[in-house]
Every structure is written in structure tokens, then in C-alpha cells.
Amino acid sequence: MDFREAIALALEMLAANRVRTALTMLGVVIGVAAIILLVSVGEGATAYITRELVGLGTNLLIITPGKTQSSGGFHPPVAGTVRKLTYEDAVALRRRTTLLTDAVPLVLGTGKVRYQGVSRDTSVVGVTPEFQRVRHLYVEIGQFVSDDDVEGHRRVVVLGRTVKRELFGEENPLGQFVTLADARYRVIGIMERKGVSLGFDIDDLVFIPVKSAQDLFDTDRLFEILASVGSAEDVDRATQQVREVLIRRHGNREDFTVTSQGAMLSAFTTILRILTTVLGGIAGISLIVGGIGIMNIMLVSVRERTREIGIRKAVGARRRDILWQFLLESIVLSSLGGVLGIGVGAGAATALSFLFTYLPTRVSLWSVVLAFGFSAAVGIFFGVYPARRAAHLDPIQALRYE
């Protein structure tokens, strides 16, 4: 029996039991759809984070206080004896390294911003003028923090879009005074709208000069130093320069961590890849359950068609003819389920990213190919046993079967 004919026969048999075929297929459809959907969520998240991290500014180095052992990860600055990073550290980095284009000291805190009885809890970032360049966040109206503002400990503030809207509405805030922890700050600028990135509302920030921030939070420490490197090839050497400068300044102790944007990116993507694999694996289990459904229904089918098998054997079907007939049926069943599942999964993934914009999804070719291959493999694996049973039926008993 040639292949095309065998496929046609399999389709015909499946069409003869529409409801049963549909229900059996549903198991595979759900399994494959789950794989496609979950993997697409993982892939989408990876793509999203990559895009956002790259959007933060390329060739970024993040210097945080405290030493962590591994160099690849992203670590909160809590481990071990933490020695502070200071404003002077940042200045020294700017002066004594050749490969850094900028080194921005950052102070981060939270505070209540008030204007005429309206107040809002927000994040306060102490910055220097270079912050705009390094993070690609620019002022839109008015001006950003200047060097004079930093050196003069001036109480000036640049508002993020959300903060401006909440406090001032349509009113022009430039030149107005807001209260930040009992001190009055003059509004000198408004940032351009950026939206949410990595779950963080960048418009819900206020920027003040870094030294003013240190005054405000009564500290001489920095949250971190953001440094940018001229080109990607120089990142490793720049990291080395940063370490040399800071070790010398810190009494020959490496009590800080330099994380490159690339290292952070790969740390994130590694985590997400693991997550994606685990999710896909869990979905794969449901596909196996679908496969068991196929085996079950094929066993029923072999029993029901015992007489047919006997007739076919009587007119000259060999064992392998019967084996292939039933195996093809289960493969066609699971593959059709796979194709449908890919459609459903991809549809659901697309719908998901429309409904929840913070949950980006991406249906990748490899997951489609993998899911289809897996579903076909399930058909083969769970089809072999029923097909072998059919092939090994004794023709005499099969013919006598009622």
C-alpha cells in the first residue's frame, strides 16, 4: 500500500468517528497549545528584557558597593562588609580612566513630594548632568540638573511626567516650588514621557542634584555609579580600569562590584531560559497525557476493527501493512492535533499580548517546530503498541470476532 493511500485511509477512518477523533485530538491540541503559549511568554519576556536593557543605554557598567564572588550575576548590594561608594569615587573614575565616557553617581531614595496640599510618594534620584546621556532619559521642558546645581547643593528638581501630572495637572510647574521632606525645591524641568520599563514607571520619578540628594537623605554614600564605555569592545578593559582606580582608592580592597550591561543581560536571559524550559516541560507533560489518550482510543479502535483486520489479512495484508495502517492513524491524529494546537497556542499568545501589554509574547519558529515534532513523536510512541497488537492478531480469530 503506498504512502499517499495509507494517509488517505487514515484520514478516512478518523473522519468516520468525528466526535471521538476530535476529543482524542483535543488532548494533543491542549498540550501543544500549552507548550507554544508558555514558551512564547518566556521568549517574549526574554526579548522584552533584552530590548529594555539595551534601551537603558548600551555599554553600561554598574558599580555597586559590596563585593560578590561571581562576576556574572546581578546582586543586590547587601553581602559582606559593605564599604561605601562616594561621590569622590565617581569623580575619580571620570578623571583617571581613559575608556569611560561618563561616570554618574546615583543616590536613590523615596520621599513625599508636595505641592499645594497635593502629595505623592515617589522615588527620588540624585544625579549629575551626564545622567541624561548615560540612561537616554532627557528633559523635555526646562532644564536638567547642571554641574552648578550639583556643586552648589541646590534645591532644584526635575519632575517625571507622572509626578508632574499628579501634582500640577495642566498647570505649568516651571519655577514653582514643591516640598520634598520639608525642604522646598524649585522645579526647573520636566522629563519626556518614557512609560513603564521592566515593570518600573520611569515617569514616576523626580531628579535632584546628587549632592542635594545626599543632604536630603543624610548620607555620603551612593546607591551606585553608572558608567558608560565608548564602545562594546572596550567593556572588559574599562571594567579593569574601574577596578584598578577603585581598589587604589579603597585601600587595596575590592569592596565593590562592577557589573556590565552584557553580564546583566546574560544573567537575565539565563534565568528566563531556565524558566521557559521548565514551563515548556510542564506543558510537555500534558502532551504526554494526550498521547495516552491516543493510545487508549487506538486500542479501542483495534478492538472494534478486529474483523476488518481479519478481512485485510485474509486478502493478503502483511503484518507491516496492518502495523502501518494503525500507526499512521495515530500519527495523523497527533500531528493534526499538533497543527491545531500550534494555531490555538499562537492565537492565544497573540491575544495575550494584546490584552496585557505588560506581558509580551513571541511565538518563535523553534518552539513551533519542536512542538510539532514532539506531537508527531507522541503519535508514534503511543501508536506503536496498539498498532503492533493489530498487526499480530491471528487472522482466523480476527475473522471470527463479533
Partner: protein, 267 residues
Amino acid sequence: MRPVVKARGEKPALGLTAAGGEPMMAVEEVWRTYQTGASRVDAVRGVSFRIAQGEFVGLCGPSGSGKSTLMNILGCLDRATRGRYVLEGVGVESLDDDALALLRNRRIGFVFQTFNLLPRMSALRNVELPMIYSGLAREARRERALEALAAVELENRADHRPSELSGGEQQRVAIARALVNRPAIILADEPTGNLDSRSGEEILGIFRHLVDDGATIVMVTHNPRVAALTQRVIEVKDGQVVSDARTGDSPGPAGSRPGPEPSPERS
């Protein structure tokens, strides 16, 4: 009834001569023993006979006589436990399952009491079934299946499913299926058992036409009236041949000589 010649226009492959020479099939001291646990049942006990090309043989006996078992062995659906079965000069007992399947496909046509048509397929596709396993191209299959259906006067029923056909028509489809690969022998197991007498006679008429055209037919029946329509009756009882005789009215064109003496041996 239209001449059936077309359906089996050629003589069987091995060029057996009708009289004398090698028989179409020879059964020699065949035993079939079923072993279930400790109990042993001898369904066929040392049966021997020969059937020449062109014979129309009735295989008779009460139920449980072993005639069905014998039929299964003749049809290469089962193997003898002991003894030899030679079909067209080939010792069947030495063949593997695939070779037996090939023999059933090419050299044997089955007609069953319950017709055994595939219910979901049209008459035409049922007739095509054996040719699917002999690897014939679609067009050739269709053409030959239509020819075979025409031979049993059912060409206008080609697209009907078995459930849309009468019992006699179904059996004629089954005969067309048995003929379509031009087998050496047609084995019919109670072919009229499920039919009213008129349809039964129709079927027997077709068989006689086929024999007139040179076909070899072995028909199992427990109905003496039906058996009487054949040329030679082999009677089986308790797994043994109790009589083997030519019926009176048969012209016997093809020699049936080499059959063993009608022997009520051992009982």
C-alpha cells in the same frame, strides 16, 4: 447471467494440465492440534486428498468435524501441525507469515458465509482491497475491480456500501473481491449459509460458471443439497475424511482422479 470469463481470462500461473500431472493442491497426512494448557485437541487428524485444477469440490461435515480448520489450512490462514500441504507445487509449511500473506493475496480468493465486506467502503473499494496489497496502481485497480463487478453483474452498484445491498448482492461483491487478483483457487465457506434460497442458487450458479471457465473452487457446506451441486464431495467427520466421491451428475471436465480412495479408514 453474463459470461464470467472476463474476470479470470487467464489460466493459472503454473500451467498445470487439467488431467494428470501435478495437482493444484495436495494435502498429505495433515494434522492440526490445538494445545491449550494440559488439554490437547486434534481438530484435523491425518487428512489427505488432492484437488486438480478446474475441480468444484464440496467439503462437507457437521459442525465440529474439523472442516473449518481444514479450510483455514487450505487458505493459508493457518498452518498444519504435522503433514504436508502443497499449493501449486509449493510446500506451504516452510513459508513465513509474509509469504503466506502473499499467497493469500495472489493465489487464493475467499468467500465467507458472512460476506466479510468492509462496511464503510463502497462495493468498488471492497473489490479493490486485495489489489491494494498487491501494489497495483490506482487506475489499474479501479479498472480491474469494475471488470470483476461486471462479471457478477454489479457494475451499477459499484458505489453502494454493503449496507445498501441485499445479501445476495453482498455475496456477489465478495465473489468479485475473491476473483479480482485471479487466484488459483477460490475457497468458499458456507457461501449460501446466510442467503435465501433464490440468492443462494444465484451464487452457486456463478460458481458453476466460474468452474466452466476453468476456476478451481472448494466450498465448505453442511447442506447436502448444496454439496450435491458440486462435482466431488469430500466428507469430513471427527477430523478425518470419511468419504470422497464424485457426485452423479457432474460432467467432470477437469480430472479429479488423483483423489485417494473414498476411505472410511480409522474411526
